[in-house]
Symmetry: C2
Subunit: 586 residues, 2 copies
């Protein structure tokens, strides 16, 4: 069995639960069938195994280097990306007319999970390129689509998102990069950008940076931000990359994990190059001035789902490695069985090892269900789907970042001392996954987004929709699952109630000071819902796989959902400790 | 203010809470005074700052290497150890007649916390030597004390504990290293030992390995284990190290953290050397045959408290770094304050950053209180003290391993992207601390020890004593703290009740399958007790320091103690899910 991801679980989620085959009735997907879906899934598993997994450790040990103005990356990355591009998966969900395969997002998301699980660092390059492509298709003019997007879909150009600056990470309203109109329709940019994944390398003919900057005279705050395309190499009249633009790599960041992805500090317009004989990096405005952050949210929302998916993928492969190890590694006897002459048993027989594995199973399979549910919302033409996705996005990003990371932590623990060494892959999975609660908006930012924006917008329409959708599930639950359905109904009832209480107080400071407890509670309730959904899909089916789903659902409802009790209690009483805290006392 | 540890907090815990000065009335400590205590604490802080902290990162980056039969360690380690030995702290708690300073353990534990916080990897060498010394003083004959212990106290020899083997880590009953009587009172040992910290290096004249092995013909299981002293270099007639014994370094382990400590696979008696012309590593029996594990538990209990202390120290320094960063780093505006023209604020003003810092404060200060409380039990002549320490030991080891590690996780999160880079020390603190839930008995082993042994021994005398001792605290609580006292009384009542329920069922499998939930609950209740103790000690005192203690106690009771609810519920209903689990379903 693969230790990267479970094809069987994907099959269950896609076909037995989400009924993805039914999407082929939509005209957009009419060319597809279960056979084509299975074919791209199998190709993904194969390329992930053959081209991505093999250099995962090497990429961690041999980080990109910056010498003589060039970034060097281990050669395996280039061949892995070539195989990925040749598969056509980079444009998997795109329209055929732009060179895409016009697959449902739920399929391309499943495909990409194989690459993320096999090698999160190498998979970051196409992930960023895909996000760049999608943003430009949504907001850029046809000229830019033709010039920049098509070569990205073909794998010739790569993309990045340049938001953060050294003094402005979570707080994008403080972005100071300047853009000055050059008089010819282009702009000249000056400033520094930080944490730019894929920010420099020689893996593509040029790099398409999407850069948030402030046009001279624009208002302070996020309303003054505009979005620009800034190429590393400008395109010549033939559309081929040529002259260097004034985008310069200042240095590479050296991270705890994700080491195989170049992560750069970039300087725009510092005068190293003077493209077309003038100062500043040449930039092309995307859409309208002042709408930069709104456009970027398109990319960020996609990236947030991608981060959640990456967290799930890393947790999942960690779980599979731990499970395989626990079945192979023989040591000791279960507690209560103290006969020293009895042969030792595989450690999977020890209850505490099982506890960690079962908990991990609920985190990673529950997380994967959540990711695929969210991806399928992109494929649906129901009017509710975008709103439901909107309210779920902070949970889709943050919950796996926390709990699938916990699965990686357990994977180390199951391996014992061996898991703490760099001879086993689980410690790298942990280090890689530890980025996910930080980037694309920290989990704290997701909590503020959920409680401060998503559940209040449109008079609470998003939260109402979410609670109602969960209710549709509980009302479908068969009698044998009525205990879970009742528990979920009680939990969603309490969530609705504390949300009202928090906002009824008219004191946003207190409400928002407890936003993390709210996100924690909402996340666990949503994943309990995902488990009830899976239990319903498995209902009446026989065999170890379905019994495993029932067992995991039972565990999640018995051991995990009760965690929400103290969080909801805290929210219900409107705890003011954090809001009123005098930080001199820390 | 130091970012290593808080001298002010130590002062509060030692003098305002634990009344350590009163120990000087005991004849053992009659030579001491608050002045001598303060002097060794200051010396420790100074040496930790000057000699240990500086190479903490370098030791992580430049791991020990093994080449040409020799282990090379960065030179700063040797000079740090020299400074440590010159301070006399290695024998801090030992009798004066063996060259010790005869200080209370609570003082030497506080001193050593400075070194652990400054550089956990370098501090591991003296920690192991101290544990070796203490075991030999307790069980070895005078001849071995004179030959091996005195040079260790002087810093000339170092010590190790050799328990684990490649196939036997948690399960010591499966140890297979053999010892054959040589006919001259010595033994010859053959076997492999794994995970030996300080297992080889050139930092001392010789290394004193304490090795668990099985004498030919001994019974299976732990009752067949004996303990041996095995020197790297045998001592000549003059007592000076000379001829190589047949202990050979097979390889070094490469860990996620703790990289500065050599961690070795050792082979005993593989024939590389043939000391005194015969096969096998020369070993000297400690005490009696068959009592090896009992002796080793002396060392292991000490090492477990040391591991808990190390976890606290790493969490503490992580918290202090995060706090300092949060006061310096300016970014964004608190939620609800959206005026983009308002100046950005230090991130300590953001409620979610405060939440992480305050939670961390309760973990690390609560953990330090627990460690010092346990250390002081070693100094007391009350007949109850050893039993109380015995029941607390698994909590002292496991609780900081989990929650002070969480403080390190939060320290990364508070730093955001910067905290995830190797340019800031907090990611190393996390990696270093991640070992602590694994070594000296995994947290799962601690849970079995607590529920399966410590709370049942002597008809439950240990647990009764613990609960009664907590009750003495709640009965001392002033009226203003009566809410906390009531909450703690309720919690200890529930702990007593679930313990009875678990064991009354007569089904140890089910009880032990939930041992981790029991440890989690007991740990949080014990630390709540530590916080009530601190709140009482701070009661009626004015100033930010004491207000901070009150705030932290409030947080722990309001936000942390309620976590025990779901764990206790699970235990109360005797959940059988993990005990009965079919591992084919994972």
């Amino acid at each position: 069995m693969s230790r990267i991801l479970s094809a069987r679980d994907l099959e269950f989620l896609l076909y037995e639960w989400l009924d993805v085959e039914a999407l082929t009735k939509r005209s957009r997907f009419a060319e597809h069938s279960r056979e084509t879906f299975d074919a791209v899934l199998e190709v993904s598993a194969r390329i992930a195994e053959r081209e991505f997994a093999g250099h995962n450790r090497k990429g961690d040990l041999q980080e990109p280097t910056f010498d003589g103005g060039r970034v060097t990356v281990i050669p395996e990355v280039e061949s892995a990306l070539r195989a990925f591009h040749e598969s056509g998966l980079l444009g998997g969900a795109l329209d055929e007319e732009i060179g895409g395969l016009q697959l449902p997002h739920v399929i391309t998301r499943s495909c990409f999970a194989w690459f993320q699980a096999a090698n999160i660092a190498t998979s970051a390059y196409p992930m960023l390129t895909m996000a760049t492509v999608n943003l430009l298709l949504a907001y850029a003019g046809q000229e830019h689509v033709d010039a920049f997007v098509r070569p990205m879909v073909e794998g010739r150009f790569t993309g990045t998102m340049c938001l953060s600056e050294p003094q402005a990470g979570s707080s994008l309203s403080d972005v100071t990069t300047r853009a000055v109109p050059a008089g010819d329709g282009t702009y000249r940019l000056h400033g520094s950008k930080m944490w730019i994944s894929g920010g420099d390398h020689e893996l593509s003919e040029t790099i398409v940076h999407l850069v948030l900057a402030r046009v001279a005279g624009a208002p302070a705050g996020v309303k003054g931000l505009s979005l620009f395309i800034v190429l590393k190499h400008l395109l010549g009249p033939d559309g081929a990359p040529g002259e260097r633009n004034d985008v310069v790599l200042v240095g590479l960041n050296h991270k705890m994990g994700f080491r195989g992805t170049t992560n750069a500090v970039l300087s725009f317009g510092d005068g190293t190059h003077a493209p077309r004989g003038a100062a500043g990096a040449v930039g092309y405005l995307v859409g309208e001035e002042g709408r930069g952050l709104a456009y970027m949210f398109h990319m960020m929302n996609e990236a947030r789902i991608g981060v959640g998916a990456g967290a799930v993928a890393l947790g999942y492969t960690g779980y599979l490695h731990a499970l395989a190890y626990a079945r192979e590694r023989v040591q000791g006897r279960p507690p209560g069985d103290k006969d020293p002459s009895a042969p030792p048993v595989p450690i999977v027989r020890h209850p505490d090892v099982r506890r960690m594995l079962l908990a991990s199973k609920t985190y990673v399979e529950g997380g994967l269900a959540l990711i695929l549910y969210a991806a399928k919302l992109l494929d649906e033409d129901s009017p509710d789907a975008p709103l439901l996705l909107d309210v779920l996005t902070p949970i889709v990003k943050a919950w796996p970042s926390q709990w699938c990371l916990k699965a990686n932590d357990y994977a180390i623990q199951v391996h014992g001392g061996y898991g703490y060494t760099r001879e086993y892959p689980v410690e790298q999975f942990y280090r890689d996954n530890r980025l996910n609660p930080i980037h694309e908006g920290t989990d704290g930012i997701q909590a503020l987004d959920l409680l401060g924006r998503k559940v209040t917008m449109d008079g609470g329409a998003g939260l109402s929709l979410l609670l109602r959708t969960m209710g549709e599930t509980t009302s479908r639950a068969p009698r044998e699952l009525s205990g879970m359905a009742r528990a979920l109904d009680a939990a969603r009832g309490r969530l609705a109630e504390v949300t009202r209480t928090l906002w009824a107080s008219g004191d946003p400071r207190t409400a928002l000071a407890n936003a993390t407890a709210y996100l924690d509670a909402a996340g666990h309730i949503v994943v309990a819902w995902m488990w009830l959904e899976q239990a319903i899909a498995a209902h009446g089916k026989r065999g170890a796989f379905y019994d495993g789903k029932r067992l995991a659902a039972t565990y999640f409802f018995d051991h995990e959902l009760p965690r929400t009790g103290p969080w909801l209690d805290l929210l219900a009483r409107g705890d003011t400790l954090l809001a009123d805290l005098d930080d001199d006392l820390l």
